[in-house]
């Protein structure tokens, strides 16, 4: 499977990195966040536990807000709002 990018609605996007290992999830998340607009949300789906730490730390350092975090059975879904 390839990385999947999707626009769910205006200002709401999703990035599915399921199956991908470091550093793909964190690099694609960063690049996607650079492309969307301030205030937009990005739902990132991945199943690589070590990427979770990097994505959280990246959001904190860039000032982006993680508005929702789900983790179950090795699958993670983080919803990030891009900072103004």
């Amino acid at each position: 499977m390839a990385i999947k990018f999707d626009k769910k609605s205006d200002g709401v996007y999703s990035l599915d990195c399921t199956g991908y290992v470091c550093p793909h999830p964190q690099i694609y998340t960063k690049k996607m966040l650079e492309r969307i607009h301030s205030g937009d949300t990005l739902e990132v789906i991945f199943d690589n536990p070590s990427s979770s730490e990097s994505i959280v730390a990246m959001c904190v350092s860039m000032g982006n807000e993680i508005i929702d975090k789900k983790a179950e059975g090795g699958k993670y879904i983080y919803t990030i709002r891009k900072a103004a």
């Binding site: 990018f5 999707d6 290992v21 550093p23 964190q26 690099i27 492309r35 730390a57 090795g74």
Partner: protein
């Protein structure tokens, strides 16, 4: 969902129970097996810590360069400092199992190749082992690739001999190693015996005119000057270039003033150190455990009156695959890559390939039965410990790699295999253990790894841009 989680916890207990039973039954059969069990349980602890802390050396400078995250740089420096303090006690009391390796530019070049490989592979050598424990198929491929590469590289000659400088060949032959080793044939043999072994071993204590085993040498030379000062410098550089601006931004929100020096040190820098609780805890336990392992193994060597596990294997009635000197790989501390190469080397030997006529296997490490190889017990338990931690936290998931990931894993593993043989170790053996014990070559390998991370990230940025352009062509932002 709860059923699945409970099933995973049962599996965690099964794995732990298996290792416990193995230790108890083998000890009951012959108390020499406690030597192998010591390696096993330290490996188990490493696996649990690595998985819990998402502790992967590859991500240190890779994630710093790629996404501006200093988490693992902090984690590694934390672990190194704790390892070093315990190691200083162990060394000063005469219980160290560590011996520095020859240092030179080759250490940095090896680190560079290894560093690029780590980025491509998605994990370092120890990281790939623990991720295998998480069910990650790509990580398992990395381990296989590293193993096959090392085992092959250790023995290959033929046209590769033409790439060996004449001075290396002459120097290797002049070492007069046992005839069966044939040090004048094989690229790696001539590199080791004809080039690397001609370099000095250098520790910070020695550079200051102190003995490694003296209190001054161990604590001032190798610990303070060899570890604490460079580690703090590195963390300061990371803070200044990657974290300071964000801290100033966050502190200035809604205020007219910018944070001063004290705020940066007490708030920003210290905040960076503590930003990931998981990583800090893992680094602390890893560091202490690594130092303790040296103490325990040396203690067991004294107890059994041996210098190397080859003697243990002989006493257990297994002398297959011992080196010409009767030794096997027995580092006495945490190590990855050599024992994985030995798996492949042993299989190839059984299939008729002569792997005992080279320095790596035949002169130094041997290729004993993996079931009796202490370092193999450590690696398998590392995978097991990581699996237990992942299962307990419902993070275990079998993941079959895509063709793309499989290719990255194989290429990355190949480069790591080459780099680890050139550097006489991997991120653990050539960097972590050496740095923590004051070996200057450890920092050289580390600097090489940083360079490798930079190159690897540059390539990955190009690759991911290309993939995004392809996959996002129809997406309107």
């Amino acid at each position: 969902m709860e059923n699945e989680a409970n099933k995973k916890k049962i599996w965690a207990l099964v794995i732990t129970g298996f290792f416990s039973l193995l230790s108890v039954l083998t000890f009951a059969y012959n108390d020499l097996y406690i030597y192998l069990s010591a390696y096993l349980w330290f490996g188990f602890i490493y696996g649990m810590c690595l998985q819990y802390g998402r502790f992967c050396f590859a991500s240190a400078f890779r994630d710093l360069f790629a996404v501006g995250v200093p988490r693992m740089v902090v984690g590694i420096m934390t672990a190194t400092i704790f390892f070093a303090i315990v190691s200083s006690f162990v060394t000063a009391t005469g219980f160290s199992t560590f011996h520095p390796s020859p240092s030179g530019i080759h250490s940095a070049i090896a680190g560079l190749i290894f560093g690029i490989g780590m980025v491509f592979a998605g994990g370092c050598a120890s990281g790939s082992l623990y991720k295998t424990g998480e069910g990650n198929g790509a990580a398992l491929l990395v381990v296989l690739s590293i193993s096959i590469t090392q085992s092959s590289f250790a023995d290959l000659g033929g046209w590769l001999n033409k790439l060996v400088p004449q001075s290396w060949h002459e120097s290797a032959v002049a070492k007069k190693l046992p005839e069966v080793i044939n040090a004048g044939d094989g690229w790696l043999d001539q590199y080791l015996a004809g080039y690397v072994w001609n370099h000095p071993t250098v520790t910070f204590a020695k550079m200051l005119g102190m003995k490694n085993e003296s209190i001054l040498g161990a604590f001032i030379g190798n610990f303070i000057i060899g570890v604490v000062i460079p580690a703090l410098l590195m963390l300061a550089v990371v803070y200044i270039f990657w974290v300071r601006k964000n801290y100033a931004r966050d502190m200035s929100k809604g205020k007219d003033t910018t944070p001063g020096f004290r705020s940066h040190v007490a708030g920003g820098f210290w905040g960076m150190i503590l930003s990931s609780k998981r990583t800090s805890i893992a680094g602390l336990i890893l560091g202490i455990a690594c130092g303790l392992q040296m103490f325990v193994i040396e203690g067991l060597r004294i107890k059994f009156g041996i210098r190397n596990a080859g003697e243990i294997l002989t006493m257990l009635g297994s002398d297959f695959g011992l080196s010409v000197r009767g030794t096997v790989f027995d580092p006495g501390y945490w190590y990855v890559t050599t024992q994985e190469a030995q798996w492949v080397g042993w299989v190839m030997q059984k299939l008729g390939w002569n792997n005992m006529d080279n320095i790596f296997f035949g002169y130094i490490n041997g290729i004993p039965n993996p079931a009796l190889n202490p370092a193999d017990w450590m690696s398998l338990a590392l995978i097991g410990g990581a699996a237990v931690m992942a299962l307990m936290n419902n993070e275990f998931k079998f993941k079959k790699p895509t063709m793309e990931l499989a290719l990255w894993a194989i290429i990355g593993g190949f480069l790591m295999g080459i780099g680890s043989r050139l550097g006489l170790g991997c991120n653990v053996g050539a960097f972590f253990v050496r740095v923590a014990n004051g070996d200057v070559g450890g920092w050289l390998f580390g600097l090489g790894m940083i360079g490798g991370a930079f190159i690897g990230v540059k390539f990955f940025n190009w690759w991911t841009e290309r993939q995004m352009a392809k996959e996002m062509a129809a997406l309107e932002l």
